[in-house]
């Protein structure tokens, strides 16, 4: 004789819904029981003093659906419309290269759920008029008997084809290839009912054409090995129902870029199904070993840096300089009812050489700013 096959009365269900009354394991490997469709629109704009650089308008579509009891499917499709200009070197305005491009990207992931494990296989495709990327990934999770510990591991491979407009800055770059292999291992542990900690170690190796074809004098090594350790801690406050998500990421690569990211996010329910999430992120990095400051050779003039050697690695890309950056963000999420969710997110980003921590920042670069606004609407089905 079992009670379980008939539905319980409202009071029984109400009792079971109280926190801590009924055990819901932190990461049971359950196939999604409900599907989700979500439509988002993102607007991004970056700028430097005196000029607006790149504007991105990007609608995206996400679908997550259960396939029977043990399978799940996730698919996304994105179209980015990018227009504007990026500097040919450093933060130089006059030498900017203008672009007006559209990127179409999609990916598909299928997951098989087992009692304590899951295995996912994914594929991704992205194309711009001068760039094509194809990738696949294989990932798995395994949970302990008590479901308090989950291990994860994954592998990914991406193959890119680069065929810049008019051959790029030098006019002679065509049909270049880049390959990347990624590995990830991690563990997530429920320390208490209110604390979740996670550690993820990723390593990736890219080979092939790693230059930016639109930048002047850009010559980078044909191999980049990147390693990052991400530590996360989520704490739930039973008192007001809010959650503090904190993370630290340490990164270094074979180009001598060392970076750290510290992020805090506080998810605060404010009533009526609305939650507000302020975000603060600090990022700092050292310069790549071959990055050259904007101090130009007196004979050759800009963009040739002092001591320029045509046979050595070189980059004047601001993204490889030493800098620090702050991001401030705020997200509003509104669960309208059981099925519909609306969200609105804004982020402001600013990067400066003098904000670097643990060493001197690169000098002579204009501060770089970006802002992002995203609206989204999702429906469960």
């Amino acid at each position: 004789m079992q009670l379980k096959n008939a539905p319980f009365g409202g009071l029984v269900l109400a009792a079971m819904a109280l926190p801590g009354v009924w055990h819901v394991s932190a990461h049971a490997e359950n196939a999604p029981e409900q599907g989700l469709v979500s439509l988002r629109f993102l607007n991004y704009q970056d700028s430097q003093p005196g000029w607006k650089r790149v504007t991105v308008n990007s609608p995206s579509f996400l679908l997550a659906a259960p396939l029977g009891r043990d399978w799940g499917l996730e698919a996304t499709a994105t179209v980015d419309h990018v227009s504007g200009a990026t500097p040919r070197f450093h933060s130089n305005v006059s030498g900017a290269s203008t672009m007006d491009d559209e990127r179409k990207a999609g990916d598909l992931k299928v997951t098989r759920y087992f009692q304590r494990a899951s295995v996912s296989l994914g594929g991704a495709y992205s194309t711009e008029h001068d760039y094509l990327s194809r990738a696949f990934s294989l990932a798995g999770t395994l949970a302990s008997d008590d479901n308090n510990t989950t291990w994860n591991a994954g592998f990914g491979h991406a193959g890119d084809k680069i065929d810049p407009t008019d051959g790029g800055y030098d006019g002679n770059v065509a049909d270049q290839r880049k390959r990347t292999n990624d590995f990830i291992v991690g563990v997530t542990q429920a320390v208490t009912g209110d604390d979740l900690v996670q550690a993820n170690l990723t390593h990736s190796r890219s080979t092939g054409y790693l230059n930016d074809p639109y930048k002047a004098l850009d010559a980078r090594p044909s191999e980049r090995r990147q390693t990052a350790l991400l530590l996360r801690w989520n704490h739930h406050f039973a008192g007001d129902g809010s959650t503090l998500r904190s993370s630290y990421r340490a990164y270094n690569d074979s180009w001598q870029v060392k970076a750290s990211t510290l992020q805090l996010e506080w998810v605060k329910p404010v009533g009526g199904g609305v939650s507000l999430t302020p975000l603060l992120r600090y990022y700092t990095q050292s310069a790549a070993s071959f990055y050259a400051d904007p101090v130009y050779d007196t004979t050759l003039g800009a963009p040739f840096p002092v001591g320029w050697d045509a046979n050595a690695y070189n980059s004047l890309d601001q993204r490889l300089s030493a800098f620090g950056a702050f991001t401030l963000g705020l997200k509003l999420q509104w669960a309208v009812d059981e099925l519909w969710t609306f969200d609105l997110k804004g982020e402001a980003y600013q990067q400066r050489g003098e904000w670097r921590a643990g060493g001197e920042g690169s000098k002579g670069l204009e501060p770089f700013k970006a802002r992002m606004v995203q609206v989204g609407i999702s429906r469960k089905f």
Partner: protein
């Protein structure tokens, strides 16, 4: 050691006193070294709930609310307390107003130790201060804090109707989240199971006979879920051949008399315990109500006859997972 003896050696009971009754955490299949610190943690959780919600503790949330009665000042309560108050509101609504956490103060009129009935007019004096509908309870929604105000001096809240059961669930869930798979939490007869015995067999639970303290009226094999019992034998006195028990109707202040005891098997002890109390109060309407909640009940009426849900059939083990 034989396998059987080994299994028994691993069946550990940790007894303690809390909430004015004898309590036990039972953890099987783990060994003392692992089980003991977890049992201590579970006991701490029971004590936390007791000190937070007991009306006998001056520092408790309930005492704080009661102390502010009639002051015109609402008391802000945290999410956990607000969840329990919302649950109390649901119990009140679903029981036609019979389950009422403001009715505890009616016991001032009844001295069960001395066996004394209320003095003339005493109940009439107390009843105006009883009623969930008379207090002001505000909460914007789930996951939020709330504000409660008892508008009249002398009004009182009492979480006694479900605090112990809530503690049993919280302790059991805590142990489950620590990986305990076999055992139970027993707080003075309100039992929440953590899982079956290590060999997969269910535990055998007995229900006390309402008129013979040392014998059992029924037994049930349970592997999970919870069992709670409410009876007219816990605190009572007899006067002129009439039994007056501690379960009081909030409308009249008088004890109920339809059932000697009601036991309920439900997934959570909080549900089982609240439903036994509501069943006692509903008197003749109890069985239809318990059927509508689809729980496994065993009720002993005033004549001693047993009314049972089919889960209580002899010799069968039951499963109550949702």
């Amino acid at each position: 050691m034989s396998a059987r003896a080994e299994a028994q050696a691993d069946d550990l009971g940790f007894g303690f006193g809390a909430m004015a009754c004898e309590c036990e955490i039972r953890i099987a299949g783990l060994g003392r070294k692992k089980a003991e610190p977890m049992a201590r943690e579970a006991i701490d959780e029971v004590r936390r709930i007791e000190s937070k919600f007991s009306r006998y503790r001056d520092a408790s949330v309930v005492s704080r609310i009661n102390a502010a009665a009639g002051s015109g000042q609402p008391v802000e309560v945290d999410v956990e307390t607000a969840d329990l108050l919302d649950f109390a509101a649901q119990l009140h609504a679903s029981s036609g107003g019979l389950f009422d956490i403001t009715s505890g103060m009616l016991r001032q009129a009844w001295d069960f130790k001395a066996g004394r009935k209320p003095a003339d007019g005493q109940l009439a004096q107390l009843l105006p201060r009883v009623g969930w509908n008379k207090l002001r309870w505000q909460r914007r929604g789930p996951g939020q804090v709330g504000r409660i105000e008892l508008p009249m001096a002398g009004m009182e809240l009492d979480f006694g109707g479900f605090g112990k059961e809530y503690a049993a669930d919280r302790a059991a869930t805590l142990l489950q989240s620590r990986g305990v798979r076999h055992g139970m939490v027993n707080l003075g007869g309100d039992i929440r199971l953590i899982g079956p015995r290590p060999d997969g067999r269910p535990w055998v639970l007995g229900v006390q006979h309402p008129r013979h303290e040392r014998s059992l009226i029924a037994r049930i094999d349970l592997a999970d879920g919870a069992l709670a019992t409410s009876g007219d034998y816990e605190r009572f006195f007899e006067h002129d051949g009439v039994r007056y028990c501690h379960v009081l109707d909030p409308r009249s202040g008088m004890p109920v008399s339809h059932w000697q005891s009601v036991s309920v098997v439900a997934p959570a002890c909080l549900a089982a315990g609240a439903l036994t109390t509501i069943a006692m109060l509903l008197q003749g309407d109890a069985l239809a109500f318990l059927q509508s909640q689809n729980v496994g009940y065993l009720a002993v009426d005033a004549q001693g006859a047993i009314h049972r849900h089919e889960i209580w059939q002899r010799g069968e083990s039951a499963a109550v997972s949702p």
